[in-house]
C-alpha cells in the first residue's frame, strides 16, 4: 500500500523548511532508516530518514524548494508493482512546490513607521533580512572593525551556532576570535568579564538565557557592579546575548523571559529587539557600549524577516523607543516578541474603529519613559504587553511611572498583559494558555476604552 512521506518538524520552532537535497530518486528501493533527503530548518541542515521501507514511487517536492510547510507530503513510497498514483489523498501540488522558491519565512505584520521615530533617513536603500541574519551581520561588522571584539559560547564555532546566529564567523575570524567553550556558563561568563577588564570586548552567547542562570552571579556581581565599586576605574564592555523567553513547547526550564529581572539592575543595559533592523542596529551599539549589555533575543523571531537599512554602519542609540504605529485612542507598549501581538491587535482594533498607538520600548534599561508618557497623555489609556511573569514585570513598573507622572491624564486603569503566573507547561493547549495572545491584547484595549 502506498504511503506518503511528510515534511518533518525537526526543531521546536520549525513550521516550514527547505528541501535542500534528495538522496534518493524515483524507482529507488529504500530501507527503514535510510537517509532520504537533507532538510534545512531555521537552525541547521538535517538528514531525514525513511521510517518505512518501499520504493520511491514519486517525488512530490523538488529539491531546492523552500518554504515547505511541516506535514506537507513530499514523496510517495509504494510497494513492489504498485503505482504511485495509488497513494491515498495525494495532494497534487503541495504548497510552494513550484520551481521558484518562495521566501523561507513568514512576513512580520506590516507596520506603519512614523517619521518621528525613524532610525534612518528617508530614501535609505533597504534590504530584507531575517533577525538571525541581522544579528550575524552586526557581529561580523563589529568584529571586522575592532580586533578586540570576540565571540565566546557553547557551539558558536565549529557547530556554527546552536541557532545558526554565528554561522560562518569561525571561517572568517578563526578560532581565537570565535571560541567554543565547554558547557560551563558560570566559568566562561567570569572569564569573559575578566577579559573585558583586561581591555577586550567579549560577546558572550548563551545558548539560552535560561542557562545564564548558572552565570548570573558574574553578570550581576562582577559585570554590573564593579564600575561603581571601583569608583569608575573598571568598566566592563561586554555583551551577553542569546535567545530569551519561550520558544515552542520546550518546557518550564527553557521558556523564561528574564527581561524584568535584568532591567531591575543598575549597572546593566538591557536590550530586547523586535525587528531585524533593531536587532542589527542595537547589537552593533551594544558591542560598542563601554558597559555590560544584556541582549535578549527570541528563538521564534530569528526566522522573521524585516526591512533593514542597507548602510555601511547602521546603529541605533539606546533609550529611544520606536513608535511603530501612531494612534489616538490607546497606547499599547511592548517589546521583543510581544510586539507581534501588539501590532496584530492594533490591526484588528483598527478594523473595529479603535486607533491604537503602538510603542516598542526596544531597550528596557535605559527606558524611554518620555515617549511612553507623551503617548499616554495623548491617548489617556495604556495596555502593556510582555511575555514575562506578571509579578514585578516591566508593565508593573511602567504603570507605577505613569501613575506618578501622568495620573490626571488617565481615563482608565493601566492593564499589564504578561505571561501567566505559572511555570511554562509543556502541553500544547496549556502552553498557549500561559502565553500572552493577540486576543488578550484586543480584549484589554477594549476594556480600557470601555468598549
Amino acid at each position: 500500500m502506498a504511503t506518503q512521506v511528510l515534511m518533518p518538524a525537526l526543531s521546536p520552532t520549525m513550521e516550514e523548511g527547505t528541501l535542500a537535497k534528495w538522496l534518493v530518486k524515483e524507482g529507488d528501493t529504500v530501507k527503514s532508516g535510510q537517509i532520504l533527503a537533507e532538510i534545512e530548518t531555521d537552525k541547521a541542515t538535517m538528514e531525514f530518514e525513511a521510517v518505512d521501507e518501499g520504493i520511491v514511487g514519486k517525488i512530490l517536492v523538488a529539491e531546492g524548494t523552500a518554504g515547505v510547510k511541516v506535514n506537507t507530503p513530499i514523496a510517495v513510497l509504494v510497494e513492489e508493482g504498485e503505482s504511485a498514483d495509488a497513494a491515498p489523498a495525494l495532494v497534487a501540488a503541495p504548497v510552494a512546490a513550484a520551481a521558484a522558491p518562495v521566501a523561507a519565512v513568514a512576513k512580520a505584520p506590516v507596520a506603519v513607521v512614523s517619521k518621528a521615530s525613524a532610525d534612518w533617513a528617508e530614501g535609505t536603500p533597504m534590504k530584507t533580512m531575517t533577525v538571525r541574519e541581522a544579528l550575524r551581520e552586526a557581529m561580523a561588522e563589529e568584529m571586522r572593525g575592532n580586533g578586540n571584539v570576540f565571540l565566546m559560547g557553547e557551539e558558536v564555532g565549529e557547530y556554527q551556532g546552536a541557532y545558526k546566529i554565528s554561522q560562518g564567523l569561525l571561517d572568517e575570524f578563526g578560532p581565537k576570535r570565535v571560541i567554543d567553550t565547554p558547557i560551563t556558563e558560570h566559568g566562561f561568563a567570569g572569564i569573559a568579564v575578566g577579559a573585558a577588564w583586561g581591555g577586550l570586548n567579549p560577546i558572550v552567547e548563551f545558548m539560552t538565557f535560561n542557562f545564564a542562570m548558572q552565570a548570573i552571579d558574574h553578570i550581576v556581581n562582577s559585570a554590573a557592579k564593579t564600575n561603581y565599586m571601583s569608583g569608575g576605574q573598571l568598566g566592563c564592555p561586554i555583551v551577553f546575548r542569546g535567545p530569551n523567553g519561550a520558544a515552542a513547547r520546550v518546557g518550564a526550564q527553557h521558556s523564561q523571559d528574564y527581561a524584568a529581572w535584568y532591567a531591575a539592575l543598575p549597572g546593566l543595559k538591557v536590550v530586547m529587539p523586535y525587528s531585524a533592523a533593531d536587532a542589527k542596529g542595537l547589537l552593533k551599539q551594544a558591542i560598542r557600549d563601554p558597559n555590560p549589555v544584556i541582549f535578549l533575543e527570541n528563538e521564534i523571531m530569528y526566522g522573521k524577516s524585516f526591512e533593514v537599512p542597507d548602510l555601511p554602519d547602521f546603529t541605533i542609540p539606546f533609550g529611544k523607543a520606536k513608535i511603530w504605529r501612531e494612534g489616538t485612542d490607546v497606547t499599547i507598549v511592548s517589546f521583543g516578541i510581544g510586539m507581534t501581538y501588539a501590532l496584530e491587535a492594533a490591526d484588528k482594533l483598527a478594523a473595529e474603529g479603535i486607533s491604537a498607538e503602538v510603542i516598542d520600548l526596544r531597550t528596557l534599561r535605559p527606558l524611554d519613559y518620555d515617549t511612553v508618557l507623551a503617548s499616554v497623555m495623548k491617548t489617556n489609556r495604556c495596555v502593556t504587553v510582555e511575555e514575562g511573569f506578571p509579578v514585578g514585570s516591566i508593565g508593573n513598573h511602567l504603570s507605577a511611572v505613569i501613575m506618578e507622572r501622568a495620573f490626571d491624564y488617565l481615563d482608565a486603569p493601566v492593564i499589564n498583559l504578561c505571561g501567566k503566573d505559572v511555570p511554562m507547561p509543556y502541553a500544547a493547549n496549556l502552553e498557549k494558555l500561559a502565553l500572552v495572545t493577540t486576543a488578550e491584547v484586543v480584549e484589554a484595549v477594549k476594556s480600557v476604552c470601555y468598549r
Binding site: 566559568g187 558574574h218 571601583s230 576605574q233
Partner: protein
C-alpha cells in the same frame, strides 16, 4: 627560642631581605591599625585582616614584573600594599572617604587600581578565579607575556567555578597562576571538615595543571616557587597552581571570636612560623642588619601607617552627588 628554626639561605642579598622585611611589616602594621580604627567605629561593615599571611603576597610580588596582574578575595589589603598601592588610599577606602581608591564606594572588599594592575577585591567567594583567568585571557589574546596572579582561599577551592576555570585555563593555555592561600580555615570550617581531598593543589592535576605546595610562611620559599610558576606561564605552558600553606592570626573578620581553634594552636604558629620574625632572624643572625637598623625601619613603617590613618580620618566623606556617578562607564 629553641623551637624556632635556624636561619637559612644566607646567600640572599641584604637588600632583598630588608625589602621583604619592610613590606611584610607594612602590611602587618597597617592591618593592626585597621583593626584599631574598626574598634573605634571609623571602619564599618566587614573587615578581613591579612595578619599572618604576609609572606605570600610579598614573596609572589618579588617574582612579578610590570604588566602582571593580580586579584583576590575580600581579604585584600595585603595584596594592595604589596603591589605598591598607596596605604593612604587603601585606608581611606576602609573609612569610606573620598580619598579612598573607590572614592568610598567600594569599601574594604572592593578596591581596584588600574595603575597597579590590581583587579579587586571580590566579595563572592571564588568569583575572582574565572575573573583572573579572564584577565589572563586578555593577555593571551594580545600575545604579550604578562601573567595574572589569581589568589583564593581554601574555602573558595571547593567552589565549582574554580574547576570550570581550571578546565578552560588549561584547555586554552592561559597565563594564570592560581594561588591557593590555604590558611586552614574557611571562616570557621577547617579544611578537613570541608573536604576529604585536602591536598588542594593536587586537584589541578586532574585538568593537567601542574602545581605544588609551598611553605607560605617563608617568603623566600614563596618567591622561589613564584618564579618557577611565572616562568611556566611566560613560556606559554598554561596555568600553574601554588598552594601556599599559611595561617591567619586574626579571626575571619573583625566580628569572629574564632572559637573553632585553640589559642595554643595560634600561639604555636606565631612562635614557630611567623614570616616576619623569620626574615628578622635571617637579617640579625646573619649579621646583615642590626637591631638599630630594624628599629629604624619599624619607625619608618609606623610613620607611614599613622599618616595613612590620619589621611583616612581627614579625607571627607564622598559628596552626596557621588551616589549617582560611576554606575555606567
Amino acid at each position: 627560642m629553641a623551637t624556632k628554626k635556624a636561619p637559612e639561605r644566607p646567600n640572599v642579598s641584604k637588600e632583598e631581605l630588608l625589602s621583604y622585611y619592610r613590606e611584610m611589616l607594612l602590611i602587618r602594621r597597617f592591618e593592626e591599625k585597621a583593626g584599631q580604627l574598626y574598634g573605634m567605629g571609623l571602619i564599618g561593615g566587614f573587615c578581613h585582616l591579612y595578619i599572618g599571611q604576609e609572606a605570600v603576597v610579598v614573596g609572589l610580588e618579588a617574582a612579578a614584573k610590570e604588566g602582571d596582574k593580580r586579584l583576590t578575595s575580600y581579604r585584600d589589603h595585603g595584596h594592595m600594599l604589596a603591589c605598591g598601592m598607596d596605604p593612604k588610599g587603601v585606608m581611606a577606602e576602609l573609612t569610606g572617604r573620598e580619598g579612598g581608591y573607590s572614592k568610598g564606594k567600594g569599601g574594604s572588599m572592593h578596591m581596584f587600581s588600574r595603575e597597579k594592575h590590581f583587579y579587586g577585591g571580590h566579595g563572592i567567594v571564588g568569583a575572582q578565579v574565572p575573573l583572573g583567568a579572564g584577565l589572563a585571557f586578555s593577555d593571551w589574546y594580545k600575545g604579550n607575556d604578562n601573567v595574572t596572579f589569581t589568589y583564593f582561599g581554601d574555602g573558595a577551592a571547593n567552589q565549582g567555578q574554580v574547576y570550570e576555570t581550571y578546565n578552560m585555563a588549561e584547555l586554552w593555555g592561559l597565563p594564570v597562576i592560581f594561588v591557593i592561600e590555604n590558611n586552614q580555615y574557611a571562616m570557621g570550617t577547617s579544611v578537613k571538615r570541608a573536604t576529604k581531598s585536602t591536598t588542594l593543589f593536587g586537584r589541578g592535576l586532574a585538568y593537567g595543571i601542574p602545581g605544588e605546595q609551598v611553605d607560605g610562611m617563608d617568603v623566600l620559599a614563596v618567591k622561589e616557587a613564584g618564579e618557577k610558576a611565572v616562568a611556566h606561564c611566560r613560556a606559554g605552558k598554561g596555568p600553574y597552581i601554588l598552594e601556599m600553606m599559611t595561617y591567619r592570626y586574626r579571626g575571619h573578620s573583625m566580628s569572629d571570636p574564632a572559637k573553632y581553634r585553640t589559642r595554643e594552636e595560634v600561639e604555636k604558629i606565631k612562635t614557630e612560623k611567623d614570616c616576619i620574625e623569620h626574615v628578622r632572624d635571617l637579617l640579625t643572625q646573619g649579621g646583615l642588619a642590626s637591631e638599630e637598623d630594624l628599629k629604624a625601619i619599624d619607625k619608618e613603617i609606623k610613620a607611614i601607617v599613622n599618616e595613612a590613618a590620619e589621611f583616612s580620618k581627614e579625607s571627607p566623606e564622598p559628596a552626596l552627588s557621588e551616589l549617582y556617578t560611576d554606575i555606567y562607564a
